[in-house]
C-alpha cells in the first residue's frame, strides 16, 4: 500500500492476493456448472440449514457469554442481559473453576473471578442463578472436564431443589475434553490432569446426561477455541469433526446407541472475517456431519445428522488499535454467522481487545444482532446465498479440503493420538508463526495495525471493565469459611467414595452428586481425582 497520500488514486487499490484466508484460490468469476443447488433445507445432508424454514420460524438465540467476579456479580449481569433482550444465557466461569481449583489455591491467587465467575460450591451455583427460571431460560455452561462434572452436578441439584425434573432442563454443558480451555494447545490441556482422564470424565458426563436429560446438550465441541489459536477455517472444521469422532467412539464403546446421544451433541464455531469462506465453512460442516453420522456411525434419526452450532464472532482479528473498528468487524462477522445458519450467536464486543465487556458494550453486541435479525430482512428466506455459483463452489471446495484433512488425521490414528504426539501442537505453532509473519510483513492487511495506522494514536478515553483486587479476597475468605463450617466426616466419606469410583473406572457422576450434597468444593473434587489416579501437579 502506498505511503504517499497523493499517490493512492492514481495507483488504485486492490486485494493483495486472490485467496481465502485458508489459501483457497478465488476465481475472477463463477459460472453455472457442477455446482447447481437443488437441495431443500431441513433435508439430508442439510447444507442449506437444519430446519425447513430456519429463521422464518425462529431467530437464532442471542447468547452473549458473561461471567465475572462473585456469583452475585454475575447474576446481576445475567439478569441485565435478559432485560435488554438476550434470549439465552452463556455462563462463563473463571479459569481456576475450569481447572477445578478453589479460589485460595496458590495458582488461583490472582485469577479468582477474573475471566469468568468464581464457582467453587453448590451454594455459589444457587447464587449465580438466583431469580432465573432455569426451566425456561436455556443456559450454556462454559466448562470442560473434569470440572464439568461438578458444574453439571450442582446444576442438577439446583433444579431438584427447585422442584424441576431434570429431564426438563434446557441448555448445554460445553464439556469438550480437548479444546475447551484455550483451544487444543498441549500444556494447557495436560498440566492438571492427563488428557486420557479428562476425556474419560467428559464421557462420564455425556453418558449421565444422555440417560437422564433428553433436552440437554451433553457436549459442545469447541471449534471456536481451535480457530482462535491461529489456525485456518479448514483446520478449525477438521479438528472439530475429529474431536467429535473421538467423543462418539468413546460413547459407542460404552455401549450407547448412536441415536441416544448424537442428537444432543452440538458445536461452537467461529465466524472469522473472510465472509464467504466462513459461510461456506458452516454449510460444508453441516454436510460433513450429516454424512459422517449416517455413513460412518449409521445414525437412523434425522436429528443425529443435524449439525447444530453456536457461533462466536472471532476475537483474534479484533485490534487494540482504533478499537471502534471492531464494531464494524463484529457486525460483518455476525452477518456471516446468520447467513451461515447459526443456532445461536455471541457477537464479540469491541472493547474485548482491552478487557471483558462493559454493560454498555454487551448491549451493543445484542443490538448488533437485533439490527440484523429485525431490520435487514435476511431472515425471511432460508439460506439466501444458496445457489450463488461462488458460494456453492466454495462450499464444495471447503468440504473437499476439510474431508481430506480429516482422512489424513484418521489415517494417522485420530485426534487423541495426534494430540498426544504433539502433531496438533505443531500445526498450531506453525499457524501462529505464519499469522504473525503475515501481519508483520504486511501480507495480511489489518487496518490500524499494519496499514492506515494513526501514528500518534492515544489510548481510547472510555471506561473499560475492571474487577480489581477486592473481589478476589472476598472469594478467598468465602471458601475458607465455607470449608470450616461443614461436617468434616461427611466430606471425608464423600471424597473417599469419589476416589474409589474414580480409581475403579465407574462413572463418577453419582459420586460427584453425593459429594455436592456433602458440601465438597470443586477444588477438593479435582484433588480427589488426582489422588485416585496418582497424578501430581508440577511445581
Amino acid at each position: 500500500m502506498s505511503q504517499n497520500v497523493f499517490e493512492r488514486y492514481l495507483e488504485g487499490e486492490r486485494p493483495l492476493d486472490y485467496e481465502t484466508l485458508s489459501g483457497i484460490p478465488i476465481d475472477p468469476v463463477y459460472l453455472p456448472g457442477k455446482h447447481l443447488m437443488n437441495e431443500q433445507p431441513g433435508v439430508y445432508p442439510y447444507t442449506r440449514g437444519i430446519h425447513a424454514e430456519m429463521y422464518r420460524k425462529r431467530f437464532w438465540t442471542r447468547r452473549q457469554q458473561s461471567g465475572y467476579g462473585t456469583p452475585a456479580d454475575s447474576n446481576e449481569r445475567l439478569i441485565y442481559l435478559l432485560k435488554i433482550g438476550q434470549t439465552g444465557l452463556n455462563v462463563d466461569y473463571d479459569v481456576p473453576t475450569k481447572l477445578a481449583l478453589d479460589p485460595d489455591h496458590p495458582l488461583a491467587e490472582g485469577d479468582a473471578g477474573m475471566q469468568g465467575t468464581s464457582v467453587a460450591t453448590y451454594e455459589d451455583v444457587e447464587g449465580l442463578f438466583a431469580g432465573i427460571p432455569i426451566e425456561k431460560v436455556s443456559s450454556t455452561l462454559i466448562c470442560q472436564p473434569p470440572a464439568s462434572a461438578f458444574i453439571v452436578a450442582t446444576y442438577v441439584r439446583l433444579a431438584e431443589k427447585r422442584g424441576i425434573p431434570i429431564d426438563r432442563l434446557i441448555g448445554t454443558i460445553m464439556n469438550c475434553a480437548f479444546t475447551q480451555l484455550v483451544g487444543p494447545t498441549y500444556l494447557a490441556n495436560t498440566a492438571f490432569f492427563p488428557i486420557e482422564f479428562t476425556h474419560r470424565i467428559g464421557l462420564d458426563v455425556m453418558e449421565y446426561c444422555a440417560l437422564g436429560m433428553p433436552k440437554w446438550n451433553l457436549v459442545n465441541v469447541n471449534a471456536y477455541n481451535v480457530r482462535e489459536t491461529g489456525v485456518n477455517a479448514v483446520q478449525e472444521a477438521a479438528f472439530a469433526m475429529m474431536v467429535a469422532s473421538e467423543h462418539i467412539e468413546g460413547l459407542l464403546l460404552r455401549g450407547l446407541d448412536i441415536d441416544s446421544f448424537a442428537p444432543r451433541m452440538a458445536f461452537f464455531t467461529a465466524a472469522h472475517l473472510d465472509f464467504f469462506e466462513e459461510i461456506a465453512k458452516l454449510r460444508a460442516m453441516r454436510r460433513i456431519w450429516a454424512k459422517m453420522l449416517r455413513q460412518r456411525y449409521h445414525a437412523k434419526k434425522d436429528r443425529s445428522c443435524w449439525f447444530r452450532t453456536a457461533i462466536q464472532t472471532a476475537a483474534l482479528p479484533l485490534t487494540a488499535q482504533q478499537p471502534q473498528n471492531n464494531i464494524v468487524r463484529a457486525g460483518i462477522q455476525t452477518l456471516a454467522a446468520a447467513l451461515g445458519g447459526a443456532q445461536s450467536i455471541h457477537t464479540t464486543s469491541w472493547d474485548e481487545a482491552f478487557a471483558l465487556p462493559t454493560e454498555e458494550s454487551h448491549k451493543l453486541s445484542n443490538r448488533t444482532q437485533q439490527v440484523i435479525a429485525f431490520e435487514t430482512n435476511i431472515t425471511k428466506t432460508v439460506d439466501p446465498l444458496g445457489g450463488s455459483y461462488f458460494v456453492e463452489a466454495l462450499t464444495d471446495r471447503m468440504e473437499t479440503e476439510i474431508t481430506a484433512l480429516m482422512d489424513e488425521m484418521r489415517a494417522k490414528g485420530g485426534y487423541l493420538k495426534l494430540f498426544q504426539q504433539r502433531w496438533i501442537e505443531d500445526r498450531i505453532t506453525d499457524a501462529r508463526f505464519d499469522l504473525t509473519d503475515r501481519i508483520d510483513n504486511g501480507k495480511l492487511p489489518v487496518i490500524g495495525v499494519n496499514c492506515f495506522r494513526d501514528e500518534d494514536e492515544k489510548p481510547p478515553e472510555m471506561q473499560f471493565f475492571r474487577i480489581g483486587r477486592p473481589k478476589i479476597e472476598e472469594r478467598i475468605e468465602y471458601i475458607r469459611a465455607y470449608r470450616a463450617a461443614r461436617d468434616p466426616k461427611a466430606v471425608d466419606q464423600a471424597l473417599e467414595r469419589l476416589r474409589h469410583d474414580t480409581a475403579s473406572g465407574a462413572n463418577v457422576m453419582p459420586a460427584i452428586l453425593n459429594a455436592v450434597d456433602a458440601k465438597v468444593t470443586i477444588g477438593e473434587v479435582g484433588e480427589a481425582f488426582r489422588e485416585a489416579i496418582g497424578f501430581r501437579l508440577p511445581n
Partner: protein, 148 residues
Amino acid sequence: MAKILIAKVGTDAHDMGVTVVSRWLADAGHEVRNMGLYNTPKRVAEIAREFQPDVIGLSFLGAEPVYMSARVLDELAQRDLHQIPLVIGGVITPAMLAELKTLGVKAIFSPGASRESILDGIVGVLAGLRRNVPTTKQIDQQSPRQVP
C-alpha cells in the same frame, strides 16, 4: 545480546504471545528461556535467581496485570533481584498502563505491537539501564508502537 526470561503467571493459558515473542527474541540472537504456563510469582522469582536474566517478560490476557506484576516484583525484591527490569505484554487497559509504569514496569507492549517495536523496546530498556537514566520517558521513546 541479552538473557531474557519469559513467563505466563497464574492460570491463564493464552500463550500465543509468549510463543511468538520468545521465537522473535531468539531469532534476534537473545538467549531466551520461556517458562510457559502456570507459574506462581514465587516460581518466576526462583527461576530468575537461577537463570540471572537481563530482563523478565510477562504476558497477560484476562488476568489482573497490575496485581500480578506487583506480586512478581515483590518476590524478586525478596531475593534482591529487584534490579532486573520487568516488561509486559498483553491485553491491558489504558488505566492499567499508568499503574504499571508507577509500579516500575519498564516497557508495555499491547496487542498488535510489531516485532520491531518489541525488539527495539527491549534493547531500549537494557540501554536505559546501562545509562542508568529514569525509565518512564525511555518507554515512550523506545517502543513507539505500543499504545502509550
